[in-house]
Amino acid sequence: MITLKEITKQYTRDSVGLKDVSMHVGAGEFVSIVGQSGSGKTTLIKLLIAEERPSKGHIEVGGWDISRIHFRDIPLLRRQIGVIFQDFKLLNKKTVHENVAFALQVAGAPYKRIRDVVPRVLDIVGLAHKSGRYPHQLSGGEQQRVAIARSLVHRPKILVADEPTGNLDAINSHEIIEILKKINDFGTTIVLVTHDKDIVNHLHKRVVTLHDGKIVVDKHQGKYQL
């Protein structure tokens, strides 16, 4: 599903995000990426969603080489990969329903499809009853659930989660991880970047540890270790 071949990302002469990283994530896998700050986790996410381009190497997502992706194809890629962030990245001036619908509207989805899909994904994350609220009227956990709902509208094969529980308390973090597990059970590949030791150890899934831009540990049913 995701293949990284000898990926290097060099920002400046002295600043290297990733060094010669190669890994493969199969369809339906749940992979946790861990590592200290500056280890290259965020760079990896940015490369996967084409926010950055690798200095060297190839990245394939769903068989599509995105290392040299054309500028106009980036929106198409992003409609195929669900992404959620620590800061939720919701549009503050739009309601919950509008935030989720927006991801479909940008793809030119017809009104009927939007009417069908949005309530369904909001139901999956348990927020159907709050569709008319604005993000600032929701708790952190609820905001993250809106972000997850938004990432699901295109039924993505891959969902990338960048520190999704970083701003949440333990209960909300647990809820978010349960939702991600549920999504994974339906066959979606999950790439989870996290600092949370408990979450990683509780998952019992594959763990990739980054250090100084390199993969130092890659274990199936691994544990959090730096």
Partner: protein
Amino acid sequence: MVSILRIIKFALQDIARNISLSFMTVLILVLMLLSVNTLLIVRAMTRQAVVTVKDQIDVSVYFNHQVNEEQVQEVRSYVDSFPEVTDVEYYDRDAVLEEFRVTHKDNPEIIASLDELGENPLGPTMVIKTREPQDYQKIITALSIPEYASIIEAKTFADTEKAIEKIDTITRQLEQAVLVLSAFFVVIAFFVIFNTIRVAIYTQRREIAIKKLVGATNWFVRGPYLIQALIFTTISVAVIGVVLYGGLAFLDKYIDVIFSTQSFLTNYFSSNILAIAGAEFGGVLLLTLSTTGLAMRSYLRT
């Protein structure tokens, strides 16, 4: 088609949900248009002032009192043949005498001397007006030929020559000053509008980044902002239209007294409404659209 409708919907939604920012943007546009229109008013008034002053200037040709009607008509035809001449008024001897009496009615000595003469000592007079003050010299030169030396007693141009030259200089300099001032205002307007829109877009950079992250194309992100630019331009030009007509009606009360005109400013703007409104709408729209495009460029790269 669905996308265009959505872009328009988002533009209207953004305006309503960022109402204070929208209001400030329109206000800045209105203020800038007000400055430009103030300059137009000053320009129109300057031109009218020059026209009024120029209108006061003429050349009077005083004929010998023994001149006959045939000779006067010959001179008149000759003067009329110049394309620079806009008006020639002829006063015969009786009219000149009558005018002289009216002018000096409060001076009994002059009137008594006139009566004592028993006959009209004054010759006919011709008052000539030309398009431009500099044309007067040409007419005077043309009339200073030997054939007319015996029938033309005097020409008053020499007295007003310097005044005309001065007015000419002032007119030229005033027009240059207004031109420089206009250019200066346009530059200021450009920077103020440019920065207002830049700040407005800057405050929404997070939203723009999020829209890109969920797969929006650049045109889908840019579209609502361009529609907003169009709406802001339309509203500001409409508002300035209303403000201007109210202001002009008020100013006309005072301006008309100075220039002896009727609704001078209102008429000036009414007769040029399409050119002025069109140029201002086009100019502001071009400015807001290009500024929006430029301001958004850096946020649309990723």
